[in-house]
Symmetry: D2
Subunit: 307 residues, 4 copies
């Protein structure tokens, strides 16, 4: 298939829509991003990459980091992780406290904020302290992206914390239900440090290969998790990867994916490729408006879908 032509077509078709999204404005560092940007990349199992647009521009991966922390927590804690976090869609916005209270402090899944904060807590347990937890996750991201320059933006991380009252509310609520082991402020700051990691679509599409290939990096041959764990992470991505629009994404795109408020979305086609798209303007559900559209165009044009 001529992937490059398809990406070029998509870039053309989405251009008129760039102005329709709304850049996240809850922290200054994100609100200043130029909305008029779009990048998209795919990486095949042999390492071939196809890209279009701003595919080398670094952006804040935000909630896409939840995918990587979940991978490590599942690797180290296995099924025990499900004593503290579920794997059901929430049917509520990503930062809702209502369900967390009704369900006695156990987050619905690892991709809503409460769940990802809880995953971070589990990683701090595993690595011993929050600094190690932060660094090991970063090391993992560099490994799967095969790119040592990746770092977290400290300005974004600090700014998130200064506006992070709702996440602090979620963490304190879990703590009140004895479902958080470490210091609330440390856990939330570590969570924000991971959200502030910056990557390009080229890096992210490369980083998805281990999930597309049942846990094994198809280029380096390195095995990160079991085939079953990889399939299950993909299932959670499909059912819970886009908050309250997860059904919509499955319906229109038909691929496992995970979005971030920085405008990035990652997706994958099992046994075939990793995909990443970025455009900072968001739709009303907090997912990249043009990014979602681009992925729908990609599955339509290629006929690739898990269904």
């Amino acid at each position: 298939m001529d992937y490059q032509s398809i990406l070029n077509e998509i870039a053309d078709e989405i251009t008129p829509l760039l102005k329709d999204g709304k850049v996240a404005d809850y922290i200054p560092a994100l609100s200043m991003v130029d909305p008029n940007q779009f990048g998209m990349s795919i990486t095949l199992f042999d390492g071939t990459q196809y890209s279009v647009g701003h595919s080398n521009t670094l952006f804040s991966i935000q909630s896409i980091s939840k995918l990587f922390t979940f991978t490590l927590a599942l690797k180290f804690h296995g099924f025990d992780l499900y004593k503290r976090i579920g794997h059901e869609p929430s049917g509520n916005p990503f930062n809702s406290l209502v369900q967390l209270e009704y369900e006695k402090g156990k987050p619905r899944n690892p991709f809503i904020n409460a769940g990802a904060i809880n995953v971070t807590d589990a990683l701090i347990n595993h690595y011993g302290d929050e600094t190690s937890a932060y660094e090991e996750v970063l090391k993992f991201i560099r490994a799967i992206a095969d790119e040592d320059s990746i770092r977290s933006n400290p300005i974004v991380a600090v700014s998130e914390m200064e506006h992070g009252y709702r996440n602090l509310a979620l963490a304190n609520l879990m703590k009140s239900f004895n479902n958080l082991d470490n210091n609330v402020l440390d856990v939330v700051q570590t969570y924000f440090n991971h959200c502030a990691v910056e990557m390009s679509t080229k890096m992210l599409s490369r980083a998805m290969l281990y999930l597309a290939n049942h846990g094994v990096d198809p280029i380096t041959g390195k095995s990160y998790i079991t085939a079953q764990q990889a399939k299950r992470i993909n299932a959670v991505m499909l059912t819970c990867g886009h908050y309250d629009a997860s059904g919509d994404f499955a319906f229109h795109v038909g691929l496992p994916g995970k979005s971030g408020v920085g405008g990035g979305i990652v997706a994958l086609i099992p046994k075939k490729m990793g995909i990443a798209v970025w455009s900072p303007g968001l739709n009303s559900n907090g997912n990249s408006l043009v990014g979602t559209m681009a992925l729908e165009l990609f599955t339509t044009k290629t006929g690739l879908s898990i269904f």
Copy 2:
């Protein structure tokens, strides 16, 4: 692959668990079913069938009927259907009123009870009256199962209505929000008539082929819906097919599926086969306990999964 051996192995492995499920007891007709039964069938695209256990026994398909009414409503109303019904997971039990009230009478998806009642209302609009709506759905089920003997059990249908106060509450609530066009009692009775259809796992696995094959029956060549519609129905099955345990089903089984309180579950492997399993004992989520387990064993043993 030696499907027959795999089915035989599964039947052996699940036997000790048959006693753990709990048969639905909200109406007499269902509560009298012997829990000690299990049947499983797969149908390939060339019509080859493999079965084990009580695969010819007729049982009440119940909510599996929602899949067939949704297919017809999507066929006739297209995207207009989404003005009255969403396609997001609900994160709530299948008959909850809470979300329906918060979301002003618009059901979250076509597979929760409110959604299926609404789909029935849309079909009555299309076919002109409730009798035609009932008969045309039955005719469709007979066509896709290639089996003219299929009928609805009137004792079950009447009994459901006598105990259907919660469904009447859902329907009246939608009516109060002007999201139900026809007479409440007629719509709910028609919905129950479809739930009371009786089929075997052999029939049901056959009936799934059009969804596994992008809308076209691979045996007869008859086209029912577009490829995109079929893929989208599969996506809704994956994200919403098992009520509040949809994430769990995706996580453990990894296939689009739909369960019914009569103990049946249908599933499919895109471009490969239709699957049906039946065992009347339910788990705490209202899905067949042994049926869910059998499907997990099937994907593990065959390695077949959409992820």
Copy 3:
């Protein structure tokens, strides 16, 4: 105290506000009422009445009827009534299903719709059938108002039923929890028949005397309920009488009271008088805008308050 002058002052002061309310428009019979009307009456224990405005005009008492059915249900069932209905404020709109579902079909109090429908069901149990229940309640209202001409408006009663889907949802939900004994349609129709009773402020202020005088009509000497029951009904009026604005009414008016969507409000000053006010324009909580204001002016001007 010169009550007549105070009533006259109030009538002057509220005149400019008559245009601010919004007449109930969910049924034609109510929506056609001229909003530019206001009446207010008080009745002392010796039978002296003071009135101003449209104090002889008949209007639909609507939810004020809940006070009278609650009185009879408490009289006949005593504390057993609290097995089926609570006496806590709901913190939700008058017709919400959410709390009713969370609390398994037991209404929070007798003044929200679900509670009053449940009270009607209890009265049908007591009187044997719905016709008797309807007639005996009407007889009771005529007795306490000392006015035999009082009747229910059949056009309103039928029209309510035709638009009563939400109340049917509430009743069906209670029935699904086995907290409704009689036929759903019969119970709801009887409830609407009582809501459609028509009275004037003169009649209503007279009808409140038994509650102001600890259960005994101070004029006829007839005892209807015990002193403790009367005090407790007053307590429920104070905490729950105005739906989600009960706290606001207690805060501003400081008297036990009950409002209806027809624009009427009744209140009482223990050991002193019955009060009724009517003006059909409603505020955003569904209580008479000018009526609430008139009662606040009354307690401010007279200094009469239970606090």
Copy 4:
């Protein structure tokens, strides 16, 4: 009336029930209190006191402090206070986050935890910093109780903070909605400092006189708030003073009152007296089991009730 005999009778009648309550155990300092204690006091407008039992024993006033902080906040901010806090019953437990989220960070009333934390924030605004806010509230409590020895127990205050995750969640949630002006930790610690104030029933019954006498201390003649403010505080006590059992308290006791998790309850009879009762064993709603019962006996035996 022979108040002393009535109090003695009450003490006799409640003795067998002392063992039925459950002492608060969420912090060590409270859990170690001997449940077998009971004290009750009334103070008349001329200063006469009647007491029975452990009426000189100091106990943690806990949520009764909300009454005093609300008084000061209403005094200084007037109606502006209602921009940040409502005055409606919540229909939910005292520390629920659900309603706070649905109502966008505006607490339902000043007596649920979120409301009292918000009141504390308003007082810090008024007094300039948290130390002054803490000290001025203490000074006010000493003045209305006419007792300079009153102090806050620092062990309780610190212990509350160490277990105060849910309150921190509430405060952070309000902060996320821009409905909290000061530093979250400072506000919550100041709130806990007030909760840790220790008083006896003699002191508390004396401290209620200004509320029973329309804002003016009947003994010293000192005016604290306006008559209307005092009446309105009483109304809020009646509708919201006992969390999710406020209706029950109004129903059975029929007086404005406020309870605390330390086992104390204050109440008042307008124009007559202040009342305080203490017994550390709680009922399932978190109110003193024996204390509630003692107050019901008091109103039954004296016939005193606002209704």
